[in-house]
Amino acid sequence: MFGNIYCKRILVSVRNKGTLIWTWIFPLMMATLFYFAFSGLQDAELLKTIPAGIVVSEEYESDTALRTTLQAVSDPEEGFLELHTYETREAAAEALTSGEIDGFFSLENGSPKLSVSKNDLNQTILKSFLDQYVQTRHAVISLLEKGDTDVSQILDLFQTETWTEELSLSKNVPSETVNYFFALLAMVCMYGGFQGLDSVSYLQANLSPLGARRTLSPAKRFPMVFFDLLAALTVHMACMLFLLAYLVLILRVDFGTGLVPVIVTCLFGSFLGMSFGSFVTAISRAKEGVKVAVIISVSLACSFGAGMMVSGINYKIAKTLPVLAWLNPAARISDALYCLYYYDGYGQYFLNLGILAAMTLAFSIVTAFFLRRQRYESI
């Protein structure tokens, strides 16, 4: 009986075009799109050379301090500015409007001034640079006016010095990109609900003709359910492993740890997805289309909460609505993968797996309650 049910259930799953599209092809497409779209995300945060302009007026030519400072910070090797020179303010303003530069400096009555067209980070850094120049110049002049110290001593006092040293909190560098892949895996785990839906539909006499026939068969109920679910799990885990192989081998996504704990997480997630699908199918006699819509909607909503559409939303939800975050199965799966990637210990990882197991058990108990000892007056 095992071979018969197990093999045929696998065959049915593989022939189901809807499941094939949503659990095999759709995640592959999403992973590929994530890879191409988010690969530049990390670089976007890095400090790059800022294009800036200076209006070369007579005042500027005579201001040696500003000229020297600007030359120093626009050094091709160590500086952070790419300095363009303009004869007039109008020419600089035109370059600013066209987006050629992020801002330009000019001198007005001896005071440096910054002109920008946006309020982004590059403009803030330009402003901060100019503030620091003005502050240092003012401090040097005021100390000179006191007359206690000579020029060389004062300039020595304001030599740029680094007071901080970089510290890393984890074995892996924080990455915004990797979280999208965690949430994607969580979504596919939740899509295990389709397998749960099929299993319960094929077992319940009031949900499908096949279920009615199987209910009448002389086979024992428990082994039939067990073998069916085992085959469904086999198909879903094959799908998960296929996706995982694509992520690791083709897209080179770094999970920060060995693959075994990642696969264990996928297994727990798949159990949960299947039990969720079984639960949705067993508790109602609604049309299959409605149940599919519920599984897709809940899976997508949970994946949104796990950060699949907006990176970091899972953290914000965890901080503002912690109960919702703990009850979101996709967030738990994603968080378990995050723990493997980022934490040194396994405490929270096992806590996440425990919560997933508890949710699976809860869904399974309710499903079993609806499936056991059913008698039909009419189907």
């Binding site: 600013l96 409007t97 910054l114 590059n122 006092l157 007071w163 924080p174 914000k316």
Partner: protein
């Protein structure tokens, strides 16, 4: 009008599917908008990156001065001194820079042998660099003032440093309109709107054509005393109505949810954004008309609607700005209508003056969208003509008299 009424009836029966997309999209946008806090201003206002200071030393005038200085220029994110909390906040960008003041720092600074402060940020990140430069500026000034006059007390040095660092260079924002710029929230919404416009339009149009292209129904309709012109007019009216409803509902949703952040924004820019999404609706309708010849089951309908909308949106810069894509992908994306839609959104939001020169790129993007709509529509008509002539469009139904 029979065809038009029948189309509306079919849509009514399949409304749940469409409403699921619209409701989920609305819910996500409302949640995202609730987290949005940015203040838009016409004057120069610096970006205020989030930072955290963990003080493991005692509170002294110097460390308090540092906190005060950073608070003036950044947004403080208060976190407990726990490894996990700091790790999570750094990973999810709740804080861009964590400064850890070690025990005994104040004494070491005062004695002239300062301990190094520990700084946690993404290596090479611009926001981390900015806050780090502020911290270094403060500490350099403290050291300089203390060395210049060792007799000064900590309170006096901190006070003098904060006074010196309160000096700011003047900055101006060169904008030739007095209105506020379009907020990031509304700009992002407009980019993502292309996805929901495409997916919902595809579903609405293909639901009808899928039914009307059923071979048995088609054969019956061909015998009906209704001219092809009347049938096409009915379908055209339906497409126009659906397109208009989807465009209006999604555009008004974005506008009303983003309204608090749009106070003071130029209404003409908002009108241009509305026009841009309307033009993209034409493109979506044209694509839907082309694809309906390849959609025959609900499975392929959902798959094509989602796959195509997501692929186009990612490729065209709807979800992630184009500058993050590789050079090759960016070149490829120019051959998609979403690229021109996203480009128009960027150009409109960047407008600081409305004149012939500044609006030229916007008109060019609009023209490209219209061109795509016209080209795809022509292709759809050609494909339709070829498919309708083919015998296989009648499926397995045999029309000949069997002998």
């Amino acid at each position: 009008m029979k065809v038009f009424k029948a189309s509306l009836l079919i849509l009514k029966r399949r409304a749940v599917q469409v409403m699921v997309y619209l409701v989920m999209f609305t819910a996500m946008f409302v949640i995202i908008a609730s987290f949005y806090k940015e203040q838009v201003s016409t004057d120069f206002s610096a970006v205020r990156p989030a930072f955290t200071v963990i003080n493991r030393d005692r509170e002294t005038p110097l460390t308090e001065g540092l906190m005060e200085y950073l608070r003036d220029r950044g947004t403080e994110c208060v976190l407990p001194d726990e490894q996990k909390e700091l790790q999570d906040a750094a990973f999810y960008h709740a804080t861009e820079y964590i400064l850890i003041i070690p025990e005994g720092f104040d004494e070491s600074l005062w004695s002239g042998t300062p301990l190094s402060l520990e700084a946690v940020s993404i290596p090479g990140a611009a926001k981390g660099y900015y806050i780090d430069s502020l911290a270094n500026q403060y500490l350099s000034f403290v050291d300089a003032y203390h060395r210049a006059d060792p007799a000064l007390t900590r309170e006096a040095v901190a006070g003098m440093v904060l006074e010196a660092l309160s000096l700011e260079a003047s900055a101006e924002t060169v904008r030739q309109t007095s209105s506020q710029p379009i907020s990031d929230l509304y700009e992002s919404y407009n980019r993502v709107q292309s996805y929901i416009l495409m997916v919902v339009t595809l579903l609405c149009v293909s639901s009808i054509t899928m039914s009307f292209r059923r071979p048995d129904l088609r054969i019956r309709n061909l015998c009906a005393p209704t001219t092809a012109r009347q049938k096409n007019l009915g379908l055209f009216l339906y497409c126009a109505l659906v397109g208009f409803f989807v465009w209006l509902s999604t555009s008004l949703l974005g506008y009303f949810v983003s309204r608090p952040s749009l106070a003071g924004a130029d209404g003409r820019l908002v009108a241009l954004l509305f026009a841009n999404s309307l033009l993209y609706t034409f493109v979506a309708l044209a694509i839907a008309m082309l694809l309906n010849y390849f959609i025959s089951t609900p499975n392929t309908q959902n798959a094509i609607a989602n796959f195509l909308s997501l692929a186009l949106s990612f490729l065209g810069g709807a979800f992630v700005p184009l500058e993050f894509l590789s050079e090759g992908l960016r070149t490829a994306s120019r051959f998609t209508p979403v690229y021109w839609y996203s480009q128009a959104v960027s150009d409109i939001c960047d407008l600081t003056i409305l004149n012939k020169e500044s609006l030229a790129p916007v008109w060019r993007s609009f023209a490209m969208e219209l061109f795509f709509a016209a080209a795809i529509l022509c292709l759809a008509l050609a494909v339709g003509r070829s498919k309708n002539k083919a015998e296989k469009s009648f499926g397995s139904i045999r029309t000949e008299i069997e002998m």
